[in-house]
């Protein structure tokens, strides 16, 4: 994506582009290893004792979490100078930390793949991985991540205090501080598996269902202002409603992870009460600004970035469906007692992460691309359409397949067989389940196809548009 015509005036935005580039590479790795696991569900001998399911899944999950973090940091570096009106403070350190983080992530992934497992001692945990789903990164990398995030936070705070502090920046400051602080809750060892999982959820849940959601609300707000010139007052109002509802329901919503891990019974009530209201305000914000925009459509400039906007549409509704509807499907304890630990969770996870985070952050990448090439307007190309359509249908297809698998597993393993191993195997071998796994694999391939189109588009759309602009009116780039 190296361009001859760099129109970005802020160093911060150049750094953002670098963050986006690494994020996309890791996105590719996520999909590749997701494909490996999907194949292994169908053909268990595939890469057996070479890249086992556990290894492939660890890379699948970690690549996703890390690329989302890269894209999140990148998006902040992108919007920060525009929101505050000044160059990001300490951007040199920011750039250094970018290289440190990228190097660390590379080493971690290489060790995952080449070393895979170690003996049952503390060294394995420090050097190879921690063996705790989602936050497998070895302890040395944990410390590195904390240092990098602290540096990043320092940049954000220093810039916000020096420049203009908009509502979006204020929310991001508070949110990123919480996000970084929460990571510490996952950085200790205990032999008590209940206590382990109790604090483990502080990181996973309070990231994904609280701080990340608020983050994406703020960034989506910025994105809507950029793409359709949304009214900032409306955006800010909804972001605060989002904060109230997300933190109001999301923080105590952690209770739905405390049903069955040894924690007291009152979490059943807490977890049932405070859940699943989380993505409602995002939908509210979206509908409100679209209404407002439609009302005044003639008076304002048209959409400035249709690919980004289409990804924001996917984000809004994907978040509502994936996190909200699919989450609520199995969040009540009376249901969760039977669905906990089945493919239901996998179905929810795929659509929720895609809808809430992947879509929004790809939208931000398109905004970055538009800015990088100084385009006043960026229109949908055919690969942009193919990308968003195939990726979305692929993930939706996988989600539906996994939902069916989840229903069947719940029905056979939990309902009919009393949750024993025999029941587990009976469910896995039932034709409904194997068919569902087949559809998941097929839809995974569709997803990867969508990714190929997306990559092609990100590499060509802006340059093509720029060339066209230069051809039609030679002054186009000069004014940008």
């Amino acid at each position: 994506m190296l361009s001859r015509v760099m129109n970005v005036q802020y160093e911060s935005q150049k750094l953002a582009i670098n963050y986006f580039q690494v994020a996309l590479v890791l996105f590719g790795a996520q999909l590749l290893f997701g494909l490996v696991t999907a194949i292994q569900y169908m053909y268990p001998q595939f890469l057996f004792e070479i890249v086992d399911f556990s290894v492939a899944r660890m890379v699948h999950l970690n690549a996703m979490i890390v690329w989302l973090l890269f894209a999140m940091i990148g998006s902040v570096y992108w919007l920060l100078p525009e929101e505050t009106g000044i160059e990001t403070v300490g951007i040199k350190i920011g750039r250094l930390l970018f290289y440190v983080l990228t190097l660390a992530v590379t080493i971690v992934v290489v060790v995952y793949l080449l070393v895979q497992v170690g003996p049952g001692n503390a060294m394995s945990r420090w050097l190879i991985h921690e063996g705790r789903e989602y936050i497998e990164a070895p302890r040395w990398a944990d410390i590195g991540i904390v240092v990098v995030i602290l540096g990043f936070l320092g940049n954000v705070f220093a810039t916000a205090f020096k420049g203009r502090r908009t509502g979006i920046v204020t929310v991001l400051m508070i949110d990123l501080l919480a996000l970084a602080g929460l990571y510490l809750a996952g950085m200790f060892y205990t032999k008590n598996v209940s206590v382990d999982q109790f604090w483990w959820w502080w990181v996973i849940h309070l990231w994904v269902e609280a701080t990340w959601e608020v983050y994406i609300a703020a960034v989506l707000g910025y994105g809507l202002i950029k793409t359709i010139g949304a009214n900032r007052k409306i955006i800010e109002m909804w972001i605060w409603i989002e904060v109230a509802m997300l933190f109001g329901s999301g923080i105590l919503g952690i209770g739905h992870h405390y049903f069955w891990i040894g924690t007291p019974e009152y979490w059943l009530e807490i977890g049932a009460l405070f859940s699943a209201l989380e993505p409602v305000p995002l939908l509210g914000m979206f509908v409100h600004v679209i209404y407002d925009w439609g009302k005044q459509a003639g008076k304002r400039t048209p959409m400035s970035n249709t690919p980004a906007f289409s990804w924001f549409v996917v984000c809004t509704f994907g978040n509502f469906l994936g996190a909200g509807v699919w989450g609520f499907m199995h969040t009540l304890p009376q249901i969760n007692l039977y669905t906990h630990g089945t493919q239901m969770t996998a179905a929810h996870g795929h659509l929720a992460f895609y809808g809430a985070y992947v879509a929004g952050l790809i939208g931000m990448m398109y905004i970055g691309l538009q800015g990088k090439y100084g385009l006043k307007q960026m229109r949908m190309s055919s690969s942009a359409k193919w990308g968003v359509t195939l990726l979305t249908s692929g993930v939706l297809g996988m989600t539906i397949a996994l939902t069916i698998a989840g229903y069947v597993q719940t029905f056979i393993e939990r309902g009919q067989w009393g949750a024993t191993w025999q029941g587990y195997f009976a469910a896995q071998d039932s034709v409904w389940m194997t068919q569902a796994y087949g559809w998941r694999l097929a839809m995974g391939v569709v997803t990867i196809l969508g990714f190929v189109f997306l990559m092609k588009d990100l590499m060509t759309i802006a340059r093509t548009a720029q060339r066209k602009n230069l051809q039609t009116e030679s002054t186009a780039t000069a004014t940008a």
Binding site: F53, S54, A122, V193, S194, K233, T263, L337, A419, W421
Partner: protein, 219 residues
Amino acid sequence: MEEQKISVWSSVRFWRNTAAWVTGFAILLLIWLSVDSVPQITLGTIEDLEAGVTKRVPSAAVINYEISYELDNKRKTEVPIIGGKQLFFGRNDYSQEEADELLHHGKMTVQSKNCMNCHTLLGNGAYYAPDLTKAWLDPMWSETGPYRPMTGKATTEEAMAEFLLNPSKYPTHARMMPNLGITPEEAIAVVAFLKHMSSIDTNGFPRNFDKLKGAVNAK
């Protein structure tokens, strides 16, 4: 949408203040509940076990005892019941320290071998292999189950340890467990970890465990 006094519902300030109060309240409640919960899930002691005191997460020394999982009529859910003494690898007199060491070693091995990225522990993890929450009590490993004859061992713990040492020698399913280089000491420790996990009060998860035997066979 200018800050005219049209309605409080469209005021940014109102919602900012609401967000601050709601968030503050939620954080305080979470901290308060956590302060209450964590002591309830810390490990019990060997004295608790000897005195018959029920703990949500018993001492590691629970490996000296027989564990079952039965319906509690008052709570209307299944709960782990700690019964009489039971041999575990030929002993039932593990001291607090010995049992703690086994649990510690077992937990570290479970993490190092990445068990959670195929199996679920307390229902959390991956769904590629069976849940391990009540693995210790699973009928597959019991006297009447197929795994003891398969491994040629007489007890659950020995059968489990043997399986962990040579998993690909005993294909229990098309999805085989890979060889993870587990040592004999690690295998014993992992089995201790599993036995201990089965004694945790999980509010009745999994439900109807081993009470139903495939009412309708799914073919």
